[in-house]
Every structure is written in C-alpha cells, then in structure tokens.
Subunit: 355 residues, 4 copies
Amino acid sequence: MELPKKMRAAVLYDWNDFRLTEVDVPEPQDSEVLIKVESCSICAGDVKIITRGMMGQPPMGEFIIGHEYAGTVVKLGPNVEEFAVGDRVTVEVHKGCGRCKNCLDGKVTVCLNYGNTAKGHRANGFTTNGGFADYAVNHVNTVSKIPDNISFDEATIITTAGTSLFGIERMGGFIAGENVAVLGPGSIGLMAVQCAKALGAANVMLTGTRDERLELGKELGADNTINVKKEDPVKKIQELTGGIGADLVLVTSGSEAAFNQALKAVRKGGDITLLAHFDDPVKVEIGLAIQKMNNIYTIRGEGRQCTHRSLELMAEGKIQAKPLLTHSFPLEQLREGFDVFMERRDGAIKVVIHP
Amino acid sequence: MELPKKMRAAVLYDWNDFRLTEVDVPEPQDSEVLIKVESCSICAGDVKIITRGMMGQPPMGEFIIGHEYAGTVVKLGPNVEEFAVGDRVTVEVHKGCGRCKNCLDGKVTVCLNYGNTAKGHRANGFTTNGGFADYAVNHVNTVSKIPDNISFDEATIITTAGTSLFGIERMGGFIAGENVAVLGPGSIGLMAVQCAKALGAANVMLTGTRDERLELGKELGADNTINVKKEDPVKKIQELTGGIGADLVLVTSGSEAAFNQALKAVRKGGDITLLAHFDDPVKVEIGLAIQKMNNIYTIRGEGRQCTHRSLELMAEGKIQAKPLLTHSFPLEQLREGFDVFMERRDGAIKVVIHP
Amino acid sequence: MELPKKMRAAVLYDWNDFRLTEVDVPEPQDSEVLIKVESCSICAGDVKIITRGMMGQPPMGEFIIGHEYAGTVVKLGPNVEEFAVGDRVTVEVHKGCGRCKNCLDGKVTVCLNYGNTAKGHRANGFTTNGGFADYAVNHVNTVSKIPDNISFDEATIITTAGTSLFGIERMGGFIAGENVAVLGPGSIGLMAVQCAKALGAANVMLTGTRDERLELGKELGADNTINVKKEDPVKKIQELTGGIGADLVLVTSGSEAAFNQALKAVRKGGDITLLAHFDDPVKVEIGLAIQKMNNIYTIRGEGRQCTHRSLELMAEGKIQAKPLLTHSFPLEQLREGFDVFMERRDGAIKVVIHP
Amino acid sequence: MELPKKMRAAVLYDWNDFRLTEVDVPEPQDSEVLIKVESCSICAGDVKIITRGMMGQPPMGEFIIGHEYAGTVVKLGPNVEEFAVGDRVTVEVHKGCGRCKNCLDGKVTVCLNYGNTAKGHRANGFTTNGGFADYAVNHVNTVSKIPDNISFDEATIITTAGTSLFGIERMGGFIAGENVAVLGPGSIGLMAVQCAKALGAANVMLTGTRDERLELGKELGADNTINVKKEDPVKKIQELTGGIGADLVLVTSGSEAAFNQALKAVRKGGDITLLAHFDDPVKVEIGLAIQKMNNIYTIRGEGRQCTHRSLELMAEGKIQAKPLLTHSFPLEQLREGFDVFMERRDGAIKVVIHP
C-alpha cells in the first residue's frame, strides 16, 4: 500500500487554539509502528493541555494533540516482529526511558526522564505528537492488538479503563468479596465501578451529584448509588456496610469534599486510592487515616499491564465501553467535539473523533 | 426452643470404622455458637482422617468427624453478638490460637499451636469434633452467614472454594487478563477454574485425564481443556499462549507429573501455586524455576477471608457449587456416602450428608 | 514467692489529675501473666490520655494509666507455657479480639472490637489498666522476653522502636540502599533514624527545629541533619539526592508543614509514611502525590512483630535506647515526671518511672 | 585522551578453549559508555559458559567472556548524561529489551527477548561481549558509579552481592529480627550471610561441609555455623530456633540434600528462596511445603536495584568483599585464574583478573 506523504493533524497554536494543519506523515523508527488513526477520544487531560499546558509539552505551532487513539498498523519500523501491517491496535500513553530507577522498577508512568526524548521517553499527546491526526507513530511497547469483538471506538477507552484498573492494582488488586466505594461518576469512576465488579467486588457503591450518571453507574454494575446532594454519603456507606465502612474507597473526583468523605467512609484498616487530579491544595482530616491505619494509594496513568488487562476484560464482556461513548465527530469538527465534551453537552461523557 | 440433650454423631472407632453414636449435644462456650447441622460434605481430607489419621487427631472412640458443614444457629455462647439464633451459617476449619507468631501475622491456618486446644486452637473435624452430627459448636471466627440465595448444600463447599481462592491470593491475587493453567480437575481444580474466571483471568486452561471432568470444567468457565492422555499439556499450553507459557499455574493434582508440567508450562517470570497434597517425594526439574524465576507458592487451607469472599462470589453467581454436588445421603448412610466418594462412583465429585 | 494483695497504682480521677492509689493486685486470667513492673515510660499518648482522653478510655476513678512498661513475670495464669516466673519481659499495647476481620488479617492494632473487653480486646494503658503501678497483667501475646543485654529501662522503649519500624514495614520494608528523609526528631523520629540505618538505608536525612535534637540524631546515625529554621528542607533534600528527592519520607511530626514538605521532597515514585498524630485538619498539596505517584502509608501502633524485631535490633546493638532515656523518677514523682516530659524540661525526651 | 584502536580480549574458541586475541576496541552506541576494564572476576557462570555453554551464547571465535567487571569510563556514546569520562564504575549483567511484559514489569533478568540484540537485550559475558578484555561497552542502565572507598576489585563482586540481596528481596525483604538459615557457604552464600545481617536478621545460621568456609562465614557475621558432615543441620536449626525452625531459608547450594534440608528446617509459615542453579532434577519432599505453607521463591540474577543497593551497603561497611577475593592474576594468566577457581586451589573463593 502506498502511503501518502502528507496528512492532516490537529496542531496546537496557542491556548485553546488548535487547527487542522497539513504536516508530514511521520516515519516509524526502530521498534516503532505507523498507525492509521481510526478513532481518537477526548480526555480531560486534553482539555488541560489545550487550555493551560502540562509538563514537557512541545512548543506551540508544532504539537499534535490527542492520546487516546486506535487504528490500523500501516508500516513497521526496523526490528518489529510483534505487529504486522493490517493489525488493529490501540495505544497507551507512557513509554519510559528504560534506564532510570523507576523504569527499571516497572514504574514507567513516573519515568525520571519524563519528556526527555533523547533518552527515549515518549508520551504521545503529552510530550510527543499524538493522535488527532491521520497517522501516528508509537513504540511497540505502547501498542496492544485489539480483540476482534472490540471496535476502534471502544478501544480508545482502554487508557481510561487501564487507569481505573491500575488504581485497584495499587491497592493490592485482590478485591473479591470486598465492599468498594467509588466517589465520582466521571469516566474514570464509571470504569472503576465496572472493574471492581469484574474483579469480584461484593458491594460497589457509587456517589455523585447527577442522577443520570448514577443511573448509568447502576446499569454498569454499581450495587448502590448515592446522590450526595440528597444523602450524606458517609452515613449511607456506613449503613450499607453494617457500620464498618467501605473496605476500599476509590476517589475518582478531585475534590476536597470527596477526599474527606473517603477518610470518613473507609473501614478501619481499609485503603483509599486517589485516581483524580487535585489542582489545588485540599484541607483534609488526615488524622483519621492514621487513627484507622488507612493507606492512601495514588496512581499516575495506566501501569502494570493494565491496558492489556482491560482489553481482555472488555473482550470477555466484563467491562463495557459503549455506554460511555456518547458522541462522535469527524476530525474536521474537533473543535465542536471539545466544546461538547467541556460543556458536558447532552450528557456527554466520552467524545470520539474520527480522522 | 428446647434443645435435646443427646444427638447422633459419626464417631471414629478405628481405621475406616466410624459409627453413628449417641453423644451429648455440646454446649457453646465463650464466643461460640451451637449449630444445628443441615448439610456436611465429604472431603478428601476426611478420607485421610478415617484411613490413616492426621496430626493432632483426637483418640479413637471420641472423635466426631466432618468439617465442611452448614446449618442453623440454635444457641449462643457468652459474648456473641455477631450471630443470632436462627441465622443460616456455614463454617471454615481453622481457628488459630491467636497468640503465636503466625496467628498474629494473619496466618491462622499454620498456627504454631495447631492441635493445642488449651491454648485456643481448634480445627473442627481435624483436631476437635466436627459436623457429621446433629449439632456442632464453632467459635464465631470460623462462622459465616449464608446469603439468602445459597442453599445449605451449596454452602458446604465454601472451604473448597476458599482454598482455591486462597491459592490465587497467595500469588498476589491480581490476575485480571492473565492466562491461567489449572492442572487437575478435582473439586479444588474445578473451583479454581471458576475463581480464576471470576477474578478476570483471560484464558483458563484446565488439564486432566477424564473427559467428563474436563467437560464440566468447560461448562464452569474453562476456556480450553486438555486431556493429558491425548495431548501433551505443556506443548498445548505453550501453543495456547503464543509460545510464552501460562502466566500462572495452579497445581491442583498432587502428582509428580503435574508439578513437572507446571515447571515447563509456566512463563518466564510467571508463578506456580501448589494446591494439592503431595504424600510422597517427587522428582522435579526445579532448575527450570530458577532459570525462569518462577515463584512456587503453597497454601494450607483457606486463609485471608477467602471463605467469606467465596460466599460473596457465589451469591453473585460468579462461582457455582451445584454442578459439583453430585450425590447426597442421610447421615445414617454416611458409610455409603464415603464409598461413593472414594470410588468416585457414578462420577461422584462432592457427596453431601444430611443429618 | 508470696505476692502482696494490694499495690500502688496511678489512677486517673479527672483531666490532668491522677493519684497514687492503693488497689488490688490483679489476678492473671487464662493465658495471662502477672508482671512486677520495674520501669514504665511516659509517652505522648499518655499526655493525651490524661488531658483529653482517648477512645474507649475507662471511667475516671478506676483507670490505671501507663503503657510502655517492662518488668518481671511473677505469676502465670492458666495455660501459659511461653513464660516462666522470673522472666524479664516487656510489653506492647494491642491485644486484638482475634475474631474480627482485621485481627484475622494480622492487623490487630486496628481491631474492629477496639475497647470491647468482653470480646477479648485489650489495650493496656488505653482501654484497660496499665503500668504506672507495682503490678500489671498482660495476655501472653503482648509480652516479649528481654534479651540479657537490655535493661528494663531500655526495654520500655520497644513500643516507640516498634512503631518506627512498623512505619518502614508498611512501605514494604526493603529499604537497603535507599535515601530516607525523617521529618521530626521526636522519639519516634530518632528511633526511625536508627531503624532506617539498621535496615541498610544509604542516606538518612533528619529535619527539625532544635539543634540539640538534630545533633543527637546525627549521633544515632543520621547522615545529614537539616534545621528547618535555617534551611529550606525541601531544597536541601533535593540537593542531597542529586535533584531526585528522597526515596522514602517518614513524617514523624504531625504538622501541616511537615506533610507538605514530604509531598515536595519525595522522589517521583517514592513513598511517604505518616507516623505522627494529626489532631487538626491539614491543608496539603495532595496533587503532587498523584503527579508523582507517591503512596501515603499510615500506621497505628506497632504491628507485624515489630516490637519483637526491635528487641533483636537492640540486642544486636543496631538501635539504642539509652540516649533517648533522659530522665527517671520513682513512681511517687510521676507528676513531676509528666511535667518534665510535657515541658521538655532539660532536653527531656523519654522519662522513665520506676515503681 | 587518545584511545587505542585495538585491544586484548579473551575470546572463546571451543569448549574450555579461550585465547587472548587482538580485536577492535568497541565503539559505544546510543546510551552506552566505553569502560577501560580494571578488574574482572571469575564466576561459576563463566565456568558453565566455557565448558558447556548457555542459552543465547554467541558463536565460537567471536565471543568475549567475563561479566563481573569494573573500570573507568573512557568514552561516552550519544545521549549519555549519567556518567562522565573518568568515572569509576562497575556493571551488572542484564539489560532488558524494555518492551516485553517482563521488562515493563521490572523483571529485566527474565526478559522475554533474552539474547535478542536487535530488540535491545544485552547480557554482557553471556549473550554479548564481556569484560575479560581491555575495554567493554555497556548500556548506562547496567552501570553504577563506585563509591570512593571501594576498590575496583571489590566492586566486581556486586553482582554476587546483588544476587544474594535479590534473594532476600524476593521473600519480601523485611527480615529484621528474623532467624535466617543459609545453606551453602559459596560466594553467594557468604554474601547472603552478610546481607542478612546487614538487614537486621537476628540469628543467621550457615551450613556447609568445609570448616574453613564456615569459619569465614562466622567472621562475616554468621551467628552459628553447622558442618553438615558432623551434625544434622535440620536438627541443629530446630534447636537453635527453639524447635520452631528458621523463619527464612536461603538455599545457596544447588543440591537435592540442601533443598530437602530447607523443606525440613523452615518454620511453619516461613519461606524458602532458591539462589543456586540446579542442573539435575531433584527428589524432594515437597509435601512438607504445603503442610507448612512455605513459599519457595527463586531468583535469576540481580534485580530490583540490588546491585546499587549492594554498593551502598559495601560503602557503609555493612558487607565486605575483600575476604572473598582470595586470588588475582593478570589477564595473560586468565587460564591459570580459571584453574585456581575451578579446583578451589588454596581455598580460592573469588579470583580477580586484571587486564
């Protein structure tokens, strides 16, 4: 197949100003593949990137945004055996440098050479070019084959799913029979509900402020939902757990209130994982965690094979992407896609872009 | 409710000689409950107990056998709030002494005061009286409430399920998306298949020698089955895993062959858990485990809340007991029950006794 | 040996009002020993107990305070083989109920039946009678034999040492070659410095506000000390670690500032343990922990055999108690002992009382 | 500094036939450094390599042997900031591919692309050229700076030390206060003794057949030594541990007898790590491990930063290399060095070669 030399790509020119631009189709280097992008989702991280920027972001006028994408392998760089032209694949963000203490320890998402492309780090859509484009290149260690029963659109969500799953893994991962509270029904929270159930959690309790989201959470497996505008979530979780508290609490909303609810609702000896970004300092009753001996785990991105694991769970029908994929637009309408996503217009959860 | 003073119980008088005998109904002591036994299953351990004996076994003529039982709480000892008369409950075997290094570390199944009743250890049906009887007493920390949608018969199997689950927990417990080989389709193996799938395993491969057992394994969730009389299980597992080997291998048959197959079929960096008893020394290619850096985990009994976790998985329909409960007899026919079980007559897997 | 019927004990009558009172010598019950108290240290917890009270505290007029004590076994209750009359012993605080989820999981310090003596929980000096007295009774699972080369006074400090060690254990415990920051040179902090070095930490950095404490920290093994009044601890820790940050941070001061310093000074992918009490809510830049994927571990008391482990480290000369034992008083002067401790008079760190 | 174009190197031409040959000085590629080799030790692995060969070994006539070396950085490849010309450094063996499941999980020593240089794997002295030569190239992620107080000769032993330490890490790593048996006083065993003491082990018991090795073990920190020709090691370890058995057993001799002793001598609930190569199948009483719930951990090489950690322990004087470095020869006498090592002539333990 003859590949074009030029392609369309959403390049960031200034804050909140990206434009479809004609650029060169990238060439896959050693251990890389070139992917024809079929679907690329908009993530909250993208909003931060276009409005305020993140660490290691490339200069304005050069940077192609987008990091949750799936597509077809169309060309192999040298030394690639893992994939063949024609493979349906999806990607994860973080390729570590492979030489720092964290990468050698399996913690690639906190690579100590983050942003240092000379040393081999890449984070497509963050520090290197991403997927709101016709084509993108990825190192093989960020690429997964898509099982046949999963569409490209669904496959874009494995970073979300992998992040939720990684949050559970950081707690130890063995949650069969445990009571799990998920605080916040965003896309990470809704995936966390599904992952928790898929791993055998007993009673999954989801909190939030919007009834339609909670309703969706219930459809996706939450055993109980709590609208925090109508009920005290701490009291309700205590009730639902016989006064003992939740064994595990996943904080999927980056709010001071949610963190404090977690500290109050978790069982003595239970654990908390923070899966949300907290932009501002929070005032928290941390003394509770010491009194109750609760560990507070955190995650950055999707580690420990969690994207691969998510794909398997999705292939087996144990987690679903479709109910979260509320909108889609062609690449030409990326601006509208962002607007729908940012305003949560028409109940938007995930918005998928098709180049 | 007026309780009788006397009851029937299967007392062991000599090797392979147990008899229904009239004995006193036991009195629940501090933190104990008296259970009216409704169902009690026969386990391979029982066979060992009646034919050869196990460590700490009480004297002939006194010992009431049976350890996998479920029933109704009919009387509370002092200081019991966890249960009420009328509660439907099931039991696990091991009550630790609560004072040795292992118990304090949460490893109650290997209590260093095993068999020492003065120091508080109990293992009903092993070192203290068990459940082939009208009534039995249990410390509250070995008792679980049965969810409404689980029958007494089904509830007798939670020790089996808890053992399988504990085997997975010892490996780390986070097996979502992993390829898991289960070597041996006995009741532990069939439960292991179900537990592995319930926790999100990707490809569960079950090996054995009897097609009907493998067939049942498939019905219970095994993605692939391998009759070792017809196919080389190591070669087949390699094939099914793209030449990499199984991420995890659960050895549920106590045979030299199975252990060696595990060593050959496991992935580099993967792990093995031994869930079977090995009565005799085995000749094994242990060098493979060092070359491939495979840990070999073991379990004794059901630890880390695994019986409670199993009950939750069963209540959610993620593991099933019924297909394993092939036969049942009244207590008067316990001898026949044992014979059916030991000869695997009519495809017997688990045989349930009803007092 | 004939034991007296009556003894002296410091009974709490009102806030900040304890008095030496004549009470009955307690009788050791099943699995308990009676200890002739030789030394009992004052801990910050005692100050809280006498000034504000803690959860599960017995009524005024009845409660004997003191929890860090050592002495000689003078009488055995039934079923005690672990100890003999004449044994030199020291104690730890927490005896779990042995029946709740946490106790069965080895987390006795967060027993779900905390304070419930009927169910078997005891926390001498917190919820049951303690050691500012001539005699005290303890369940065998809270008692350790003292190696010959350790004095009673030194042995009172194993709760402090065990707490510091437990903080390291919660992080994983394998800290050989790691850079460790200890924020706060109180008795827990000074023990943490020693434990970290005893376990092979490379660069132990101690922060504080008082030069004499930092100096002592250096004598006890700290490789670097930082007076936060004179230097920016975050900047200094970054410098001392080549810009990477501390691999592990132990927060041994319950202040908002220390917690924030920990969040800033810890390495990407490194971990934090909170070993101090935080009485008030704190405003913290928790977002840093998520960006850097730092887990925040907590401890309550001394778990996982850490008192036993501390005694071994002390017996081997790897951690020292003497430099922390700055003052001692007879039991009659307990009030003065508390005053010296609370006012940190004459550089007081630990004050030992001799009944 | 002008570097020569040619150098001397020990090239393997046939089994047991290596010869000093003139070859090109290698050129450091991207992220590599060129090291002027000062010292290179002989390891049991080298003996296997020259006599029987190992997986992935390069063709005869091309392969430069030697993997335990230290020296001075003399040239940097592109993109190297971690080191400067003139740095004193030592190396570890395994550079993973950075793209397989095991490498991404931090298990580089069991890289699934072992031996595949195109995909980035290197194991100098095993699958790529090693250090019995004037110069060698290494990827930066296998290089460590040597602290000033450690000589090149001593630094060659960090692979040995790192392997022993990794064995402890695989068990969990928190061994403060534990009783540890080390079965086999080879160089790995003698380092294991030191590492165990350096990490706070209480009673380290070393077994072996030669009194002079056991004596050395005692000098290096073993609390007890047992000559298995004179005493029953299992009985003795039971005695030394109050009948409970060793908490941890490190098997540093690849013999059937040692493995069986480990199974018998380990405590209920304790753990075993196999640190030796087992060339032949062994007949073992594995049933004991299940009865006592002992995990059997294994290691391959030196993982989880254990070489870096070892260097720190050595710099702090907590482990010593010198007593193990019994002989040294110039590169011209490599043959004699091998002979001395293989025959254990004059009590040889480690033999260092100086190019």
